[in-house]
C-alpha cells in the first residue's frame, strides 16, 4: 500500500512508532499533499510533517481532516486540475 494510503487508512501510528528512522521518512505525493514524517513528538504531542516545503507540527487528527487537505489548496476555488 502506498504510504499516504496507509496514513489515510489510519495506520499512521504504525509509521510514527518507528524509532529507528525518526527523520526524513518520505510519505510521497498524493494530490499535491507532500508529507514527510520528521519524528513523533511527546506522548500525545503533534507530528512533524513537511507540506509545500514548510515544516509543520500537526495533530494526527488534523492530518486525517479534510481541512488539512483544503490547506494544500487543492479543494479551493476549483483550482485543482486546471
Amino acid at each position: 500500500m502506498h504510504p499516504i494510503n496507509q496514513f489515510r487508512a489510519n495506520q499512521w501510528l504504525v509509521l510514527a512508532d518507528q524509532p529507528s528512522q525518526p527523520m526524513l521518512l518520505d510519505l510521497g505525493m498524493h494530490q499535491g499533499l507532500r508529507l514527510r514524517y520528521l519524528g513523533k513528538q511527546l506522548g500525545r504531542g503533534p507530528y512533524m510533517v513537511q507540506w509545500q516545503g514548510r515544516t509543520l507540527a500537526v495533530d494526527a487528527s488534523l492530518l486525517q481532516d479534510l481541512r488539512f487537505t483544503a490547506l494544500s489548496n487543492e479543494l479551493e476555488l476549483g483550482y485543482a486540475g486546471r
Binding site: L42, G45, P46, T55, L56, V58, S61, D65, R67, Y79
Partner: protein, 585 residues
C-alpha cells in the same frame, strides 16, 4: 501607469518577511518576528517619497482562513473590508481606515517557490482586476541552502518584473519602490495550472548539493523531546537568570544609588528652594512625591527588568525558537485547553497583556482565545508587575518568592483546566508552522527593543507618573483617611493589611503594578507581603487591558473579567492571610 495615490496590498505566505518589506518601504516600525502569525492586524502607511500607500496584512496559506488574523487578510484582499476596522479585528495603526486596494504586492519566498506560485495563482484568479507587482525575498537563505534560482527566466515565464530582495539587509528595496511607482494597469493575468507550475519549478530551480546547515540541525534537535526538552529547561533557567539578574544588577548597582545618593537629594533641595512649604511642595517631594516616586518606580525599579525582558524576547522571537517551544509544550498546554501555539501569547503576556490579547487572534478557536485572555488577565503578571514583585520580595527569604510563584503556577493550571471544562466550543487540533532557525540581526533586535521600550514609556511609565501624582494629592489632602475607613472591613478585617493599603488597591485599577509598589513604603510582615502580592497578581487588569478586551470581544466580557478577578483576588488572598497567619504570625 497607476494613479499617484495607488494603494498596494502586501500579500504572501506567513513568515516570509512581508512586515520587514513594509517597514523598509514606508519607514514605519511595525513589529516583526520569526514565526508565522506575528502580524495579526493590518498596518497602513505611505511609501517613502511617494503618495502611494501600502497595507501590510497577516500572511495566508490560501483563501481558507484558519484564524481571525488570516480572515482579515482574505477580507482585505477580496475588498470586503474597507473603511474603519471592525471590533473583532481592529487595526493597531493610528490611521485605522483601510483604503481599498488598487494593486497587489505579492511576495514569494525564495526558499519555497512552489507554495508561492500556487498562492499567486489563487490570488490572480480571485482578483484579476488588480495589477500585481512581484518580489522574491529571502534569497540569502536560498543561496545558503544551495538553491539555484533563474530569476530572469522566472520573471519571463510569469510575464511580470520580479524584484529580488534580501529585505532584512535592505537589498533590493530601492528598486522595488521604483517598480511600485512605475507599475502599469493590469493586463490579462497569466494563470499557471498545477502542471505548469511544476514544470516551471523544474526549469527555474535547482538544488544540486543540499546539505543541512548547522542551524537546520539545531532547529531539528530543538523540536524533539530529546534533546529539546532539557534544552528548553536550560533556556528557561538562563532566561530567568538574565531577566532577573541583569534587571537587579542595574537596579541595585546603578540606578538606586544614583536615585538615593544624587538625584533625590538634589530634587528635594531644588524644590525646597523653589517652593514654600505647603501642599504643592508635599505633592512633589512628600511621601508619595511625584518627583521622587514618579522617577523611582517607573524608571529605577521597573525599567531595568522591562529592558532585559524585551531584549530576551526579541532574541527568542527572531531566532525561530518560540515556535519550537510551542511544539514541545503542545501536549502540556492541551490540558489547559490551549494548543502549543498559545505559549507565544502567554510569553508576550509576561511583557504586557495588551499584545498578548491581540496575538490571541492567531489562535484557531474562540474557546482558545477566551482561555488565553482569561489566563493573561488573572494570573500572568506583566513585566512591570514582576519587577514590582522582585522589589517586594527582595529582602525576604527565598522561600517566600518561590512559594508565591509556585502558587501562581498552580493557579494557572487549575484555572486552565476549569476553563477547558466549562467553556463551550470544540478543541481545535494543533497546526504550528516551524520557521527556519535564523541568526538574529543586531539592528533588528535594537529596533524591536526600542519600539517596545518606547511603548513602555508611553503606555506604562507615563500613566504611572500621572497616577502617582493623583496618589500624592490624595495622600497629602488627607483623603486617604476617608478611603481607608471606608475600605477598612475589606483591607484590615479580611486581608489583615494596614489601613493605608487601601490606596494601592485603588491605584491598581489603573496600573496593575501600582497595587504592589506603594507596599514597598510600608513596613509589612512577610505574610502581609504575600497577601498583598496575591491580591496584586489576581487583581483587576489595567484599564487599558479592560478597554482592549471590550474592543476585541465585548464590553460584557470585559466587565465580567473585572468582577471575576476582584472576587477571586480578595477571596484567595483573604484565605491565604488566615491560613498563613495561623502558622507564621
Amino acid at each position: 501607469m497607476l494613479a499617484v495615490d495607488a494603494t498596494w496590498l502586501l500579500i504572501g505566505a506567513p513568515n516570509i518577511g512581508k512586515s520587514v518589506i513594509f517597514n523598509a518601504l514606508t519607514g514605519r516600525q511595525v513589529q516583526v518576528a520569526n514565526y508565522a502569525g506575528a502580524t495579526v492586524s493590518y498596518h497602513q502607511a505611505q511609501l517613502k517619497q511617494s503618495a502611494q500607500a501600502l497595507i501590510d496584512v497577516p500572511g495566508i496559506y490560501g483563501f481558507h482562513a484558519a484564524n481571525a488574523a488570516e480572515q482579515l487578510a482574505v477580507d482585505l484582499l477580496n475588498g470586503r473590508l474597507c473603511g474603519p476596522a471592525p471590533a473583532c479585528c481592529g487595526a493597531d495603526a493610528p490611521e485605522a481606515q483601510a483604503r481599498a486596494s488598487t494593486g497587489l504586492l505579492m511576495v514569494l519566498d525564495a526558499c519555497n517557490l512552489a507554495h508561492g506560485l500556487q498562492l499567486m495563482a489563487q490570488v490572480q484568479q480571485q482578483r484579476p482586476d488588480l495589477p500585481m507587482v512581484l518580489a522574491i525575498n529571502r534569497l540569502d537563505l536560498a543561496q545558503e541552502r544551495g538553491l539555484q534560482l533563474d530569476l530572469a527566466l522566472l520573471a519571463e515565464r510569469l510575464g511580470k518584473p520580479l524584484y529580488p530582495l534580501v529585505a532584512n539587509m535592505g537589498q533590493g528595496i530601492a528598486e522595488l519602490a521604483q517598480g511600485l511607482t512605475a507599475a502599469a494597469q493590469p493586463s490579462e493575468p497569466r494563470l499557471l495550472t498545477k502542471q505548469q507550475q511544476q514544470e516551471l519549478l523544474a526549469e527555474v530551480q535547482q538544488q544540486p548539493d543540499w546539505q543541512l546547515s548547522w542551524r537546520d540541525r539545531l532547529g531539528n534537535a530543538l523540536v524533539k523531546p530529546w534533546p529539546g526538552l532539557p534544552l528548553a529547561l536550560l533556556v528557561l533557567v538562563l532566561s530567568f537568570a538574565w531577566v532577573i539578574g541583569f534587571g537587579k544588577a542595574i537596579r541595585v548597582g546603578l540606578l538606586l544609588p544614583l536615585m538615593n545618593q544624587w538625584l533625590a537629594p538634589n530634587i528635594m533641595a531644588f524644590v525646597q528652594w523653589l517652593l514654600p512649604q505647603g501642599l504643592l511642595q508635599q505633592v512633589l517631594i512628600g511621601d508619595y512625591g511625584v518627583l521622587l516616586k514618579g522617577i523611582e518606580w517607573p524608571f529605577m525599579l521597573v525599567l531595568p527588568y522591562v529592558f532585559s525582558f524585551y531584549l530576551l524576547l526579541a532574541l527568542l522571537e527572531d531566532s525561530g525558537y518560540l515556535a519550537r517551544l510551542a511544539t514541545l509544550t503542545d501536549a502540556s498546554l492541551r490540558h489547559l485547553g490551549l494548543s502549543g501555539a498559545g505559549i507565544i501569547p502567554l510569553i508576550m503576556g509576561l511583557g504586557c497583556g495588551i499584545p498578548a490579547i491581540l496575538a490571541s487572534r492567531s489562535l484557531p478557536s474562540q474557546k482558545q482565545r477566551l482561555i488565553l485572555v482569561t489566563l493573561v488577565c488573572f494570573s500572568v503578571p506583566c513585566i512591570s508587575q514582576l519587577a514590582a514583585f522582585m522589589a517586594l520580595f527582595a529582602d525576604q527569604p527565598l522561600g517566600v518568592s518561590l512559594g508565591f510563584f509556585a502558587l501562581v503556577l498552580a493557579m494557572v493550571l487549575l484555572l486552565g483546566k476549569l476553563l477547558r471544562a466549562v467553556l463551550p466550543g470544540v478543541e481545535q487540533p494543533t497546526l504550528i508552522e516551524i520557521p527556519d532557525m535564523l541568526r538574529p540581526q543586531f539592528a533588528t533586535l535594537m529596533q524591536k527593543l526600542w519600539l517596545r521600550l518606547r511603548g513602555y514609556l508611553k503606555d506604562g511609565a507615563l500613566p504611572m507618573l500621572y497616577i502617582i501624582a493623583l496618589a500624592s494629592l490624595i495622600y497629602e489632602l488627607g483623603l486617604l483617611r476617608h478611603v481607608a475607613q471606608w475600605m477598612q472591613p475589606l483591607v484590615v478585617g479580611w486581608l489583615r493589611l494596614p489601613e493605608e493599603a487601601a490606596l494601592p488597591l485603588i491605584l491598581g485599577i489603573m496600573r496593575r503594578e501600582l497595587t504592589v509598589l506603594p507596599m514597598l513604603e510600608m513596613s509589612l510582615h512577610w505574610v502581609q507581603l504575600f497577601t498583598a502580592a496575591l491580591v496584586a497578581l489576581f487583581y483587576v487588569p489595567c484599564i487599558a487591558i479592560v478597554a482592549t478586551l471590550a474592543r476585541e470581544f465585548s464590553l460584557r466580557l470585559a466587565l465580567a473579567m473585572v468582577l471575576a478577578t476582584l472576587v477571586f483576588a480578595f477571596t484567595l488572598a483573604g484565605l491565604a492571610a488566615r491560613l498563613l497567619g495561623v502558622f507564621f504570625v
